[in-house]
Symmetry: C2
Subunit: 195 residues, 2 copies
């Protein structure tokens, strides 16, 4: 059983390129967030923001901003998540990290924008990874994508906010008949060293 779960999350999960029309209910998206939210971020800063695109109207706003090769699969997917990160995540620190009240100012103060940006991007990306693995743990398939016009997605979906788009991920139940061939990975000795 443990082996099954490791296979499902890591070893046998595959990036999907086509989707069955099995829907994903809103309660599943709630369950997904209620898993991924517990995984760690520095100072519990939790900068990731998630737009779950489900309606045809919202899909139509997104599709022209995707790279041509990503449009049809994004149209098919029951849910497309725009994963963003909030550059002003620190405004929530008084609630999220209450025992250190000065934490907010370490990011909000003059001259700390680059530090805040790096923290938001690093931890927002960690949370993007948690989203993918939590979805798989719940039996969903994922199709993460970097091929889209990020400035245009920001303007269309995050206008007037301090959130920026990180990546976009289709979620649903994949059509496993049309998977690409699995690509190789770096060997342990190429990516790791023991010291």
């Amino acid at each position: 059983m443990r082996r099954n779960m490791l296979d499902r999350i890591f070893r046998e999960a595959r990036t999907q390129n086509a989707w069955r029309d099995t829907p994903v209910g809103d309660e599943t998206l709630q369950e997904l967030y209620d898993l991924l939210k517990w995984a760690p971020t520095s100072m519990n800063c939790g900068p990731a923001r998630f737009l779950f695109i489900r309606s045809p109207e919202a899909k139509q706003r997104l599709l022209p901003l995707m790279s041509p090769g990503n449009r049809e699969k994004t149209r098919q997917a029951p849910v497309t998540v725009i994963v963003g990160y909030d550059l002003e995540f620190y405004e929530h620190l008084p609630k999220l990290f209450p025992h250190r009240p000065e934490a907010r100012d370490g990011f909000a103060a003059e001259g700390r924008q680059a530090h805040a940006q790096e923290t938001a991007f690093r931890n927002g990306s960690l949370q993007g990874g948690y989203l993918i693995l939590a979805a798989r743990a719940l039996g969903l398939d994922c199709g993460p994508m970097s091929g889209f016009d990020a400035a245009a997605v920001d303007a269309e979906f995050w206008q007037g906010t301090s959130v920026r788009t990180n990546f976009i991920c289709n979620i649903g139940y994949g059509d496993h008949a049309v998977l690409h061939q699995r690509l190789p990975r770096l060997a342990f000795d190429e990516a790791c060293r023991l010291l």
Copy 2:
């Protein structure tokens, strides 16, 4: 059983601040990499690099570079992983993404450094998240940290390479008696929207 695994990876896992002296064998680190390596990165670029610090000698090189509050727990942990990302990850694309031979030049060409840096940091961070969750899935505890002198760690451990430090993570079996109080998370409506 599925519930147990979700609890272990997400709901009940906690960032550790003290460590039992139970060792973590090299074969466990190999198993850890052999899980996390399968999780997705854009163009299969896999930019993360991992230094597994186990020996007292290597620990001694690292400890003075950690923030004071992170030193004692890092000294105790059986393994401390320096999670880095390779800015020249694209040199491996001909092997990792062989069906698109022009992929390398999209990062290596003049004027593409910022794009390569962003791709390395985003995907290296995703892989850092995969490391944490894969370790938990194998029954290990984690203690990720951002409090250290990144430039000094780069100089001490990645000198002469194109790798930069992302974050540092203790791994082992935690002393659950000394956990901090669990911090709150943003509610669904604060972090997510359904469109």
